[in-house]
Symmetry: C2
Subunit: 354 residues, 2 copies
């Protein structure tokens, strides 16, 4: 690649690689933690009614109504809410807003693999702290002072959860740094750190509507934090892109947050299927981490991760394998419908019979 | 504001301030260069048919179909196309992708006021080259070597256009720097630099569907350039946000580009109204720059810019006034429907009678 016209800053940058989005859709798609259930019918109605001639006008750059709706849902004020184009954009803007060059940011070695990419992009110093042998969280190592900390909770791709008391210890250990808690998966059974927001001005939580609200296709994410801290993200966003959420994403986001009943039902189904799948895979000899997310992290003594992924792909099932140290023998499997998970388990059984 | 938790990089950052989006909609809104005509009916159809259960799935991170459609429209290949969340995001990503710290980027002093904001945000050195007295473009000063150049053509907020021959001179003067030509308004009568793309590997053109395609509410923009140069923007985007365009924005964008007939009709109407309004305002004693954009830049010897803006606001007409040296006595007036422009002219007449 001729990089003559590339900025000196990005000559060695390695982008994040998202899970495959097959164009043909014949696969059982358990590779990108999408929700197997459609968005609320009220979301589709809201979109259809917003799809009118007003699309010629810019959206509200402050996303005021959506922020109001999210604030009410969480019992906060709109000044404590920042909305962005999916939680990936929100995380990226937060990395830029809170972390300073020359001050080391810490996060685990096994976690959402976009964190080191943001750090590289923005030329931040960072350290990947190894998870313990059993992939539990090394809390003690997060108590040292640092330029910031990022905790994905439940963690991806392990699905393991850190209790709130431990998050409090990390927040208190160094009250001058921002601790970001990425709660992309928290709706599937973890206790959310949102209840800590009014106690810790250095806490920022990050949320997405892609998973528990079935809206991956609409790109809506948000952060919560103290008004002064949210003002920093707003300042970066308004210096980069005034309107990251289009009119239909705003309408969809609002309707999704408002339909609490649908949300509760949908996440309950996903959690129930997760528990059934976990039990079934353990019967097949898999080691499966206890998960509070909409995916499970699995390994089998008899078959390697890459081999298993390929075997599943050959049988029409897409799952995620990470070519990374320590987890090469693991697969991350998103929770689909009962039928999809049954098909996945049968495919595993078939592979193991060899 | 307590900036304790703000990155050292953003302590002095001053965000871009977009034109007001009034919540009540009783104004005649000529302040943000929106199109007075709705998007193509085919766009609304495409959105309604895409608003289904597949919104639970991530969009195509590569925007392949939209890029293919745009490539065909311009007679290019998809590798020469990059799509983003409005041309503001595209510009931001381009600033990061092409310009290096310590190498001075140049653009005019009077131009789209987001350029210096990106440069501040990303801590780039830059120089604002003064336009000539009559707001014509100082081509000679852009022939010196630099770390990059940005030319808005037609320029905002003046509406004045630089001929392609002059852009060629700038491209040739320093073939090792990227020259970005922001063509947000080019569809309203300027000759596009797209025809130069296959001759100059250092040329990048930037486009938006917000203006000539009436889709400000959907956030679709794109850049065109050589494959190696577009790969740089893609690299930055994929290190920041994999999916900036949601499924409905992708569908809307495609349908908008495909409906060439509607586009031609809509821009023809805007241009005709612009010419009528220009003539009318000149009769009222205004100085009006010749414009190839969907706005005009006007001043009147008898009344100051701020005063005129307020007078128009009092009469229900929103226009844009910039609190900046050299242009404080000017207003930028977006082209609305004939009726809206007639109301605006009557309001001006009323103010001048004073």
């Amino acid at each position: 690649m001729d990089k003559r016209f590339w900025s000196s800053r990005i000559q060695d940058l390695e982008p994040y690689i998202p899970g495959e989005q097959p164009k043909d859709r014949v696969f059982i798609k358990l590779n990108t933690n999408e929700n197997p259930y459609p968005p609320s019918p009220k979301v589709l109605e809201a979109i259809r009614s917003a799809a009118d001639e007003t699309l010629r006008l810019y959206p509200d750059p402050e996303a005021s109504q959506l922020r109001q709706t999210i604030a009410e849902y969480h019992g906060l004020t709109p000044e404590q809410v920042f909305c962005g184009n999916g939680s990936d954009e929100v995380l990226g803007l937060c990395f830029y807003a809170f972390f300073s060059p020359g001050r080391r940011v810490i996060f685990p070695d096994i976690t959402y693999s976009f964190y080191p990419v943001y750090a590289h992009l923005f030329q931040l110093d960072f350290e990947e702290i190894p998870l313990n042998e059993d992939f539990s969280f090394p809390v003690e190592k997060f108590l040292r002072g640092s330029g910031g900390a990022v905790v994905c909770n439940p963690n991806a791709p392990t699905g393991r959860t850190l209790p709130l008391e431990e998050i409090c210890r990390i927040l208190e250990a160094d009250p001058n740094r921002v601790v970001m808690v990425d709660e992309a998966y928290a709706d599937f059974g973890a206790r959310s750190a949102v209840e800590l927001l009014n106690r810790y001005p250095n806490l920022v939580t990050v949320h997405t509507l892609s998973k528990s609200r079935s809206l991956a296709g609409m790109r809506v994410g948000y952060a919560l934090g103290s008004p002064e801290v949210m003002a920093a993200v707003r300042c970066v966003k308004n210096s980069f892109n005034s309107y990251p959420l289009d009119r239909l994403a705003l309408a969809a986001g609002e309707a999704a947050i408002r339909d609490v009943e649908y949300f509760e039902e949908s996440r309950r189904k996903v959690m129930a299927t997760r528990e059934r799948t976990t039990a079934r895979l353990r019967e097949l000899g898999f080691f499966v981490h206890d998960s509070n997310a909409n995916f499970i992290f699995i390994t089998h003594p008899a078959v390697g991760g890459k081999e298993l992924q390929q075997g599943l792909r050959d049988r029409g099932v897409l799952v995620r394998w990470f070519d990374k140290p320590r987890i090469r023998d693991y697969l991350r499997v998103s929770i689909g419908t009962d039928q999809e998970m049954e098909a996945m388990c049968r495919a595993c059984q078939d592979i193991l019979k060899g």
